[in-house]
């Protein structure tokens, strides 16, 4: 354990250059703003900014994206509290109590509770991450081709956590992403596959322009008909301070939600949103609050905010140690790692410890800087969140176009961005979720590579997939994740039918 903290200190030392500290500061400020502007969110924000990291060395690049991702969790609560519009999905539960408190004239208190609990939750998540990540990476060394195949199968099926209300639409999105991931080149034989004679397609569909189009440009198309938001709340630092009693109200909630939130964040596919919903539900059903939840309870804000920051930190454990992204934004980070020529997974901590620990250390720095920035930016944020769509639409379009061109240094990137933007806008408009599409696009080539290597090593025998204990465990969990949602839906339907028949009687 102490060895891990020594490594972390090494990571912090490697970050202590003017360039890296500046990157952490910029990443934190940009992340808070992206999180605060309704409708952009961490997924679009990281996607749009991904091309800007090409000229960075890998450590600085991951530090920028990681701090942006992490800081959006802080920013998401600002518009949720001031406008009742969550900047990002993990802040949905924050809006319930935050906006209620803002309407009572205590917006500053709500923001302070959100910021402090975000800091506590994030810190807990990072401490658990530091304590367990090496163990997870060492455990990951036991993973051969068959084990990785079953683990990726498990990750693919756990995408069901992200598919929302309509399982069919979620599955269609997952399959579209998987099919797109197959285009280009066969990873084992090295021959062209599904490129239809197009040489540009030989290298497959490039991740950066695809993701910029899917979540950036499609969002811009949607924004054209969305109304501007207005905010007439004025905030001051003095009004925003919590007293000792208020701090003691949120402290136990933040600590508990931080621990639970971290473990939810580690699960592939669960992510910050699930964590926030789960902890809010636990707070509501199991614990007492001074004010009922939903009516302006700072305990409600603390449970949601602490949990989503802890989950964002926890999600880095499977990403760095096993190469499995936990969310849509995680898939962008994984795509970035692969793009910079790094192979996330068990060997990352031995082959490139400076990079891995630098990334984790940047979260600690971002957590500290975000608290200071969030408090000092409060008066400014009321203006930032109300930037008119009239300005946002053309400026984001320019960033999308320039970024996607830069990703391939050719018009090919612009074409991918343009067409994926249109297709994903149409899908999104009909309720098809985007996160499963991106996750399966990243995971499918990895799954195919390991699966075919395992088959090849075992001379085509399928038994290789249930020979080791890891494979058996992953397959058992795979079956559980596949069956559990169906059983849950059936049980809920039966309960609803029983309730209805009871009501009729």
């Amino acid at each position: 354990m102490l060895e891990n903290f020594a490594m972390l200190w090494g990571g912090i030392e490697s970050l202590l250059t003017v360039e890296n500290l500046l990157i952490v500061l910029i990443g934190t400020l940009v992340g808070i703003m992206i999180g605060a502007i309704p409708g952009i969110g961490s997924l679009s924000g990281c996607a749009i900014l991904l091309p800007m990291t090409y000229n960075f060395e890998p450590t600085s690049a991951i530090v920028l994206l990681a701090t942006i991702y992490y800081s959006t969790m802080f920013g998401g609560s600002i518009s949720a509290i001031l406008l009742n519009i969550p900047g990002d999905s993990p802040a949905v539960m924050t809006a319930l109590d935050g906006y209620a408190l803002a309407r009572k004239g205590k917006a500053g208190k709500a923001l302070a509770a959100a910021t402090i609990s975000s800091f506590i939750g994030g810190l807990i998540g990072m401490l658990i991450l530091v304590s367990t990540v090496m163990w997870l990476a060492r455990f990951g060394l036991n993973f051969g081709n068959a084990e990785m195949t079953t683990l990726l199968l498990l990750a693919l099926v756990s995408i069901s956590w992200l598919i929302g209300d309509s399982p069919v639409k979620g599955i269609v999105s997952t399959l579209i992403g998987a099919l797109l991931g197959c285009l280009g080149m066969d990873a084992i034989l090295g021959t062209a596959r599904l490129n239809f004679g197009n040489t540009a397609l030989m290298g497959g569909i490039k991740f950066a322009p695809l993701v910029i189009g899917a979540v950036g440009f499609s969002q811009v198309i949607k924004m054209v008909t969305e109304k501007d938001v207005s905010c007439d709340t004025k905030l001051s630092m003095r009004e925003s301070m919590l007293n000792v009693h208020e701090f003691m109200r949120i402290l136990p909630v933040s600590l508990r939600s931080g621990v639970i939130g971290t473990f939810v964040g580690v699960l592939p596919g669960a992510g910050a949103t699930t964590s926030s919903f789960l902890n809010y539900a636990i707070q509501k059903k199991t614990f007492r609050s001074e004010v009922p939840l939903g009516e302006g309870a700072i305990e409600g804000i603390a449970s949601s905010e602490s949990a989503n920051n802890a989950a964002a930190a926890g999600a880095f454990a499977p990403l760095l140690a096993l190469g499995i992204p936990g969310s849509g934004t995680g898939s962008i980070l994984l795509g970035g790692l692969l793009m910079w020529g790094l192979q996330p997974g068990p060997l990352l901590f031995s082959t490139d410890p400076g990079f891995a620990w630098g990334c984790i250390a940047s979260l600690f720095l971002a957590n500290g800087i975000a608290v200071v920035c969030a408090f000092s930016m409060m008066p400014l944020m009321t203006r930032v969140i109300t930037i008119s769509n009239k300005i946002l639409i053309p400026t984001i379009t320019v960033v999308c176009a320039v970024g996607s061109f830069s990703a391939t240094e050719s018009m090919y990137g612009l074409y991918i961005m343009f067409f994926s933007g249109i297709v994903c806008y149409l899908l999104d408009r009909d309720g098809y979720p985007m996160a499963p599409l991106l996750l399966s696009f990243v995971l499918t080539p990895l799954f195919e590579k390991y699966m075919r290597r395992a088959f090849s090593a075992s001379a085509g025998h399928v038994e290789i997939f249930w020979q080791s204990a890891i494979c058996k465990t992953c397959l058992a969990l795979f079956v559980f994740f596949l069956v559990a949602p169906m059983v849950k839906t059936a049980v809920m339907k039966r309960r609803a039918a029983r309730k209805q028949s009871g009501g009729n009687a």
Partner: protein, 149 residues
């Protein structure tokens, strides 16, 4: 017509799945006795499932309401399409800056001051980060090809 539009996405999904199923079966090997699944196996499986779930989505769409299509959303698509076409003639950077200026001034009818400030800030950002720092070779277009090399 409005009721039929709600089938557009699931129908397109089904057709795409069907096309890829037939194409991969026809062009790639699916299985080898000693190597197991080959290059056609996974795409075929995914495409077949896509066809199946596309049909299920079509069936499920029957009970849902059609989402009205707002043509205003397509204005930005048309604008980026125009940028792509103009890029071949005048190059990428001039096209994108003309788009930004024209959108702010003529589509959104913002005041001259706001339009100029936003255009200058964005131009400084793009030229500073992507041209000067990252040295991205943006397409010059046939008009400026000789000039920019």
């Amino acid at each position: 017509m409005k009721n039929l539009s709600k089938y557009a996405v699931p129908f397109a999904v089904t057709l795409t799945g069907l096309f890829f199923t037939v194409y991969t079966v026809a062009h790639y090997q699916l299985y080898d006795a000693t190597m197991g699944p080959m290059q056609g196996a996974l795409p075929t499986g995914i495409a077949a499932l896509l066809t199946l779930f596309g049909l299920v989505a079509c069936f499920k769409t029957r009970s849902s309401e059609a989402v009205p299509l707002d043509l205003r959303n397509w204005s930005v698509v048309a604008a980026v399409g125009a940028v792509i076409l103009a890029t071949h003639v005048v190059g990428f950077l001039p096209s994108i800056f003309v788009f930004l200026f024209a959108w702010l001034k003529f589509k959104e009818r913002l005041p001259w001051k706001t339009t100029i400030i936003v255009t200058v800030v964005m131009a400084a950002f793009v030229l500073g980060v992507f041209v000067w720092w990252m040295q991205i070779p943006f397409t010059p277009g046939i008009l400026f090809e000789d000039l920019w090399g």
